[in-house]
Symmetry: C2
Subunit: 154 residues, 2 copies
DNA sequence: ACCAGCTTGTTGACATGTCACCGACTTTGC
DNA sequence: GCAAAGTCGGTGACATGTCAACAAGCTGGT
């Protein structure tokens, strides 16, 4: 039973800032999307890859890989979006287990209405306050932490 | 109607990394807490300020201010934790509208079981991979973005 | 050809989070 | 004093996310 290694005061402060940022930034994004197009962040996450794909159709498996979501979460979200007319489901020709997700006209209109405001929001809140050097270093920091999380979960 | 300002490829990459980190780090935390003590991240967030307060009691309003949660979210979470015996609710002597939240013995045992592993996890995943310079820079970046979000929501 | 094991998607139960609203109480301005 | 406005906590409806389990189809080794 070894002595626990607590965080230093500096580290605790940075950690608290990170948690605050996670929440407030999420909230700012949700509000911008809701205001500009009535979409949630979850809606936007799925509509974005769909709108960039050929014909606005993706196999559920591939859409899941794009956003790195669990299958169950994806299925639930697609059901909710289907109910609101943003996407439709179709059978998959190649693989009878599969399911194709197709962007509807309404879905395309919604993401096209939301996208410019979304990009503007991310720029204003995240990138405009940083110098190009800081953006690079921020990216490096994220890489290091991501590596550590990746190593940890394997 | 002006041309939208899209993200540069570098910015889009950093933004994608940030979103991935947000998800995977949250997941790593949830799993560590669940494994070490059966607590969720939401449980931990409330138990931590409670365990550091005098007698393990805080007024709901003040607990909410500590964690910066909405009242409704706090109330729901306290109800769930009360049902599992982690906290109890009491009347507030000063203010008849108020509600005091008290840590139970079981709640204290749970947070004390979880805390060392939590600190170790945060160190391993976030701070050990970074040099002290990078930690400082990361803190500065978070400050800048937090300021921008704060300005934006006022 | 077979079948054990893998992949794919869905579902139901439950935990979490947000929103609009209410009811009770306190504070403020007069 | 007292009415208007603000504060505090809770509730119900709903959206989101996770987990375990399932059904169906695919795949590879024999």
């Amino acid at each position: 039973m070894s002595e626990p290694r607590w965080l230093t005061p500096d580290q605790a402060e940075v950690w608290a800032k990170y948690r605050t940022l996670r929440r407030t930034l999420q909230r700012a994004q949700d509000q911008q999307l809701q205001r500009d197009s009535g979409l949630s962040a979850a809606d936007y996450a799925l509509l974005a890859p769909l709108s960039e794909s050929a014909d606005g159709v993706l196999r559920a498996r591939d859409l899941g890989a794009e956003v790195d979501w669990e299958r169950s979460r994806l299925s639930h979200q697609i059901s909710r979006m289907e109910k609101r007319g943003l996407v439709t489901r179709e059978a998959c020709a190649d693989d009878a287990r599969g399911s194709m997700v197709r962007l509807t006209e309404k879905g395309r209109e919604a993401i096209e209405a939301a996208a410019p405001g979304h990009a503007e929001n991310v720029r204003q809140l995240v990138f405009d306050p940083l110098t190009p050097d800081e953006v690079r270093l921020f990216g490096d920091v994220l890489d290091r932490i991501l590596d550590a999380v990746e190593r940890n979960s394997r």
